[in-house]
């Protein structure tokens, strides 16, 4: 008799074991160090070793290695030497050590600064006026001929000679955007405010770069479909340079969403404007926020927030887009519990909450990472002050590893989990399905106050090969697996109707945030597999995904202009 009992073991435990195995495997691969392998001939290896011994000092500096084409961006600082092999390196940022180009070309733009020597073996140095080179400039022609490596990446593939497990030892750092979007103009399009046009103050990064200890941030705009303005005005004071401590606060009236981890502002606006697809749900918040933030190590930041907001539901106000035919934007769900029929309706509720966020980030790039860790742990205690003290706690952890398996391969892994305690308002329910989550399923097909999600992507750098489509695209194989559910089988309708039934409320409040994960089994996990094609620069991508449990379901095709994670 057939039995599926072996598959009924705890899915979360199995998932964690799998993830730990993958992480350990990636650590082993990482520890193996670089090897030019088949990319250089024996003769080239001899030449490379000779020049490396002369210009690299691994005992004194760390070494960033790039095989094929690469870019060191304007805000990047390489705290060591750089070697590029068989490609073109475009240097826009700063290098503290030497730059050695082996069978490669170097392009130094105006903003480039090299504190050591620039050495090019069997290649040319292209230097714009304004580029600073403090040391020697050497071009050497060995007379050898070389096959180029057909790579083209926004960020160079690199390997490091030292362990980066300590985030303070990162080889290079990047300046992270503190907010998405353009400086100055504020443009947004969604189904609840329609077109919002306005003005952004400079990003906090700008104030830091201009060495001011304070930063004024915020924006003001008008949503034409909602016929309502939005604004935010805030001030941050910053202390210390090495390990900055800052505090500040802002006052605001904004359309907000919990779905930024799924899709960014710009990409969602374009999807809504052109394709009539809005991948976020919204609520309106009016109030203030106070925060303190401390950077402990170069890559670790802790932040505490106190928030006091009046929360309001928002309705769909527009159904217009450039394309989209007869499609309609889906309705915007209620952010707040629905009032029972015998209760006087209120238009807003005051939410008071304390949030803590710990972030560790050792990724080599914010937009197109190829190596490093990212961890974000978030916790919030919240209370609706005007509704019988209805309260909740919620916790979200997001752990990512970007691992190079070789010059031509990457393994990217994300594990995300969310849980809660008490009566979680609908705007904070965890949703899975669709882009960036379970890509083979419908958008937000699964909802709950518990959530686990794993995404694994194996990326092959096939761009530049001579194979038909793969000449222009990288190939990506991915697997998504996850589940969202309500603890102890709580009825979402009952949880989202005010006043919440006393029995349901007491059971919800008695349920710990740790509870009910034991009931998760593999059979409950939703899994899809898929194939993706991504442009070399990573800013255009097509995913095709299929669920493993729906035999007759269609393939789900997704077009993206950003990496899902």
């Amino acid at each position: 008799m057939y039995s599926n009992q072996p598959y009924q073991r705890n899915a979360l435990g199995g998932l964690l074991q799998t993830m730990i195995f993958l992480f350990l495997l990636s650590g082993l691969l990482f520890a193996q160090g670089y090897d030019y392998g088949k990319h250089l001939t024996d003769e080239e290896k001899t030449v490379a070793a000779e020049w490396e011994s002369q210009y690299l000092h691994p005992d004194q500096h760390k070494v960033l290695r790039i095989l094929g084409d690469g870019v060191i961006e304007r805000d990047d600082l390489v705290d060591g030497d750089v070697v590029v092999v068989k490609g073109t390196l475009i240097l826009k940022g700063r290098v503290k050590g030497n730059v050695l180009a082996l069978f490669s070309e170097l392009e130094l733009v105006r903003s480039a600064e090299v504190q050591g020597a620039v050495v090019c073996v069997d290649g040319k140095i292209w230097r714009e006026s304004g580029a600073v080179i403090a040391g020697d400039i050497v071009e050497k022609d060995t007379g050898m001929t070389h096959e180029r490596i057909r790579h083209s990446r926004r960020y160079g593939r690199h390997d490091e000679e030292e362990d980066d497990s300590d985030p303070s030892k990162r080889d290079w750092k990047y300046q992270k955007d503190l907010d998405e979007g353009l400086d100055g103009l504020w443009f947004d399009y969604n189904r609840v405010y329609g077109l919002t046009l306005g003005w952004n103050l400079p990003k906090l990064l700008w104030w830091e770069q201009t060495r001011r200890p304070f930063g004024l941030y915020g924006k003001i705009g008008y949503g034409f479909a909602a016929k309502r303005g939005q604004y935010q005005i805030g001030l941050q004071r910053r202390f210390f340079n090495d390990h900055p401590f800052s505090f500040g606060g802002d006052y605001h009236d904004l359309c907000d969403t919990e779905d930024r981890w799924i899709i960014g502002d710009t990409e969602n606006s374009l999807a809504a404007l052109f394709l009539r697809e809005d991948f976020r749900d919204y609520y309106r918040k009016t109030g203030y926020n106070l925060f303190i933030s401390q950077t402990i190590l170069q890559s670790v930041n802790i932040r505490l927030d106190y928030r006091n907001d009046d929360i309001r539901n928002l309705e769909r106000k527009t159904n217009w887009s450039v394309f989209g035919g007869k499609k309609k934007f889906h309705p915007n769900p209620d952010a707040l519990p629905v009032m029972a029929e015998d209760v006087e309706s209120v238009t807003s509720r005051n939410l008071e909450s304390v949030q803590a966020t710990v972030e560790l980030d050792t990724r080599d790039s914010h937009t197109f990472p190829q190596s490093g860790w990212y961890l974000q742990a978030f916790g919030e205690q919240g209370k609706f002050t005007e509704t019988d003290g209805l309260s909740f706690d919620r916790y979200i952890i997001d752990l990512r590893r970007y691992q190079q398996l070789g010059w031509d391969e990457n393994l990217d892994i994300r594990l995300r989990a969310g849980t809660s305690q008490g009566v979680l308002p609908p705007m904070y329910w965890f949703d899975l399905g669709g882009i960036s989550t379970l890509r083979g399923y419908h958008f937000k097909e699964f909802t709950g106050d518990r959530m686990v999600l794993a995404n694994v992507e194996y990326r092959m750098n096939t761009a530049g090969s001579d194979w038909f489509l793969l000449d222009d695209f990288d190939l990506i194989l991915f697997v998504d697996s996850g589940c969202a559910w309500f603890a102890n089988g709580h009825d979402p309708a009952a949880l989202s109707t005010y006043p919440v039934d006393a029995g349901i409320r007491s059971r919800a409040e008695a349920t710990s945030w740790k509870d009910d994960f034991g009931s998760l089994t593999w059979s409950k996990m939703k899994t899809n597999v898929g194939l993706g094609l991504a442009s070399r620069s990573g800013d255009f991508r097509i995913d095709v995904a299929k669920p493993t449990d729906h035999r007759d379901s269609d393939l789900v095709v997704t077009l993206r202009i950003k990496k899902p994670f």
Binding site: D69, T88, E105, E107, D122, K124, W126, E128, S129, T145, R148, R150, H151, S152, A463, G464, R536
Partner: protein, 288 residues
């Protein structure tokens, strides 16, 4: 396409047209300045035909023909700074329109440049026709900006010194930059917004040079000689641009290398940002 683009450019610039009287009185300015050492030519022209060419003598000769009732023109030479400023200001845009040969209301500016002094040229022409023949001069800096109209710049003979600055910015119109290899530049910036453009890098004095080329809308042809190693990095604008290249080049991702790139000491690096339209790379074979 050329006609359409010129039409768009003219339409944009000639909004609010009032047709000019053909019988308005014309005036001419003719001046000659002896120049030694160095000279800066500053052109600020609202509209007209602007011609620059070489003078075999050491003098700088200026000829300006304009309609003095509808147009103000000044020619000033500061002997201390050795700056020659030519200024043509029309009362309205209609005056920049060209009529027939006899009744044209175009301002006409012709400057014969001396070939011995170190020259800097800074030209801003809002609308009109540019025809610069700049070979065999001591040109040190060249900045040209044109808002609308045809432009032709030809280094028919090698420049006599290194050209430190070469910066072209064309908004609308057909542009031909010829024999740029004679300009003796190391770095250049060329921007074209709307219109056909031809960039010809033939010439005798490319040692190692890089050119940043920013294109928006229109067809662009880049001609390179086969005695220079050429590398081009092409950043495409989505799928709306197309690159055509002969088998003299081989593609490696977004890079294009001429077959002689590694062997030739003379090298040219083209950093091209394409817009909407076709980009043609062509090679001029010396044995053909």
């Amino acid at each position: 396409m050329r006609t359409a683009l010129l039409f768009i450019g003219s339409f944009l610039l000639c909004t609010g047209i009032a047709w000019a009287d053909d019988n308005l009185e014309k005036a001419t300015i003719e001046k000659t300045f002896p120049v030694r050492g160095e000279m800066t030519l500053s052109l600020r022209i609202d509209g007209g035909e602007v011609e620059l060419l070489r003078n075999e003598d050491d003098d700088c000769q200026v000829f300006v023909e304009h309609n003095k009732e509808k147009c103000r023109a000044e020619v000033n030479f500061d002997e201390k700074t050795r700056e020659l400023e030519i200024y043509v200001d029309h009362d309205n845009w209609s005056m920049t329109k060209s009529g027939d040969a006899n009744n044209s209301n175009y301002a006409k500016v012709r400057v014969k440049l001396p070939h011995r002094p170190d020259l800097s040229i800074d030209a801003v022409v809002k609308a009109g026709k540019l025809d610069f023949t700049l070979g065999d001069l001591h040109l040190v800096n060249l900045e040209v900006k044109s808002w609308a109209g045809e432009a032709r710049v030809d280094f028919d003979k090698p420049n006599r010194c290194d050209l430190k600055t070469m910066d072209f910015d064309f908004k609308v119109g057909e542009v031909k930059l010829l024999n740029l290899g004679n300009a003796r530049f190391e770095e250049a910036d060329i921007n074209s917004n709307i219109g056909e453009m031809t960039l010809d890098f033939n010439g005798e004095h490319v040692d190692r040079a890089m050119v940043r080329i920013d294109l928006e809308i229109g067809e662009t042809t880049i001609i390179v000689p086969d005695d220079i190693g050429v590398k081009a990095r092409v950043s495409k604008f989505l799928f709306l641009s197309n690159v055509q290249y002969p088998n003299w080049f081989e593609q490696d991702g977004s890079y294009y290398y001429s077959r002689n790139y590694k062997d030739e000491k003379k090298s040219l690096y083209l950093i091209i940002s394409t817009g909407i339209g076709e980009l043609n790379l062509r090679v001029d074979k010396s044995d053909e």
